[in-house]
Assembly symmetry: C2
Homo-oligomer: 305 residues x 2
């Protein structure tokens, strides 16, 4: 096992797509060797992580698609992790989008992997940090993480990504109000996509006002108009992302927060590894028949057994 994992690590390090895919599968499903593989990671490459988030229907996948075309021309190696149940990178996609994007599935500079999202309330894949760490070990220039913006997932993506692009569309006018506090905290760049539609100008102006207020004399969060379907504004968006990544040189507070949470969870998982959830439930069910059942003494007994 150990020597297999050693070999796999070497292949990931050298950029074998098959090995990266295998590595992701191993850590995503906690297969044998997952821990060994994770312990080998040395961050020997310098891929930067770009989060692309926003509400469903904001055209995130089309935007990712357009950014891929842009960076391919510049000869960059890019990985895409799509955690969006409605993403055309996933299987349930409409045919047109699949065909349009299929060229990238065989391009040696583009690695694409779609991941299941966690639970009904949205949120990133439960192992997204491990998965991203595996991909970071390969020689990519950029890793794009596409996520649907639903509550918790936005906080997570902001901690995971070096640069977070929040994508909005004119129809999202009301949502800007709702999400206002949240998205202002996580966005490093705003993309007003489908900018040729009615209402785009209004959304753009509102965002400019919000980012101006928020900046309070400091550097404002860039707001860019894009029409991803025909490439309008993509050069500017890619430029804004590259520029943000170049200027960023300290550990963001959000990253430290996310890593602390993750470390806490790893410790917790380790400490709870002997507790069987199903067996606990069966024992509880039996114990509850006692009319004087006490959850706290039940738990205390369970802990001392």
């Amino acid at each position: 096992m150990q020597s297999n994992i050693n070999t796999l690590y070497q292949q990931i390090h050298e950029g074998s797509f098959a090995a990266i895919a295998r590595g992701i599968t191993i850590v995503e499903n906690q297969l044998a060797g997952a821990q060994e593989l994770l312990l080998m990671l040395r961050r020997n490459h310098s891929a930067r992580v770009v989060g692309i988030t926003g509400p469903p229907g904001a055209g995130k996948s089309t935007l990712v698609n357009a950014l891929l075309a842009h960076w391919l021309e510049k000869n960059l190696k890019v990985a895409v992790l799509a955690i969006d149940p409605s993403s055309p990178f996933n299987y349930g996609a409409i045919l047109g989008d699949r065909i349009r994007m299929s060229e990238y599935y065989t391009n040696p500079n583009i690695f694409i992997r779609s991941l299941a999202s966690r639970g009904a309330l949205g949120g990133l894949n439960a192992r997204i940090i491990e998965i991203t760490d595996i991909v970071k070990e390969a020689p990519f220039d950029l890793i794009l993480v596409e996520t649907v913006g639903v509550g918790q997932s936005e906080v997570e993506i902001a901690g995971l990504a070096d640069c977070t692009v929040v994508t909005l569309v004119p129809e999202a006018g009301d949502e800007v109000q709702t999400l206002k506090a949240g998205i202002m905290e996580i966005a490093n760049i705003f993309a007003v996509n489908k900018a040729d539609r009615d209402g785009a100008e209004g959304l753009y102006r509102n965002l400019r006002i919000l980012t101006h207020e928020k900046a309070n004399g400091e550097k404002e969060i860039p707001v860019l108009k894009t029409v991803a379907t025909n490439g309008i504004g993509i050069d500017e968006l890619a430029g804004a992302i590259e520029s943000f990544l170049k200027d960023q040189n300290s550990l963001p507070e959000k990253r430290l927060h996310l890593l602390t949470e993750k470390c806490w969870q790893l410790i917790q998982a380790h400490r709870m590894r002997d507790i069987d959830h199903h067996q606990l439930q069966i024992r509880l069910k039996t114990a509850l028949a006692d009319p004087h059942f006490n959850l706290y003494s039940f738990t205390a007994r369970y802990l001392t057994k």
Copy 2:
């Protein structure tokens, strides 16, 4: 300490409001004696728990108020736990409501306690199970738990309560569609409140269709119209609650699920009691300066120290 807690337990058991309030404060804030007190609980009384949930503005507090008046007349002893930041039982309340309800604050048959809700995403108070267990140890007939229906909190209330009343108002028409799946799973009774308003009949009919479909030939979930502000429909609602409680004689799956989760959390808290979150973050921050930082070996080292 032990003998003080013994005394406190006795006083709770006998129904002293001061003791119940003190017991709640102790378990809510995990003060000294919390564990001892919880270990003493024997479920010697038979209070049933009624959850009143629904979106903000559905008039839940007014409904609770009207139900209190109803049950007071029947000489029942009732406790109210209000976990709703906007509830008039809380301090930020509008004056009118406070005055209307103030009579109950001094009524010897009514115990009222407002509790902080957990986190920004809503959800019940983190210690609601412990708090309810304390109140159950006192000689109440009913314990009403009023919660704002936001995502997770609805699942929790359904596990905690013996009977869950979902309160909706005509304006919530769209929300019925959104919440449809969720609320059909948790509601034991629907109250269409503010039933004198436009749209009430439409909401009522929609709910009747949904509950009919869901019943699939079995007993349908009752849908009742109320105008809590002037007591209309309150006798019927109280009757429906009492009738539901009388017919219910097995452990609901949701209760077992909630108790399993709670037991799991208690075990987890016990196993993690030596881990200091803040210290972990400081250590991580230092370790992250290493360009080859590896979260998984950092965690492994932390676990073996």
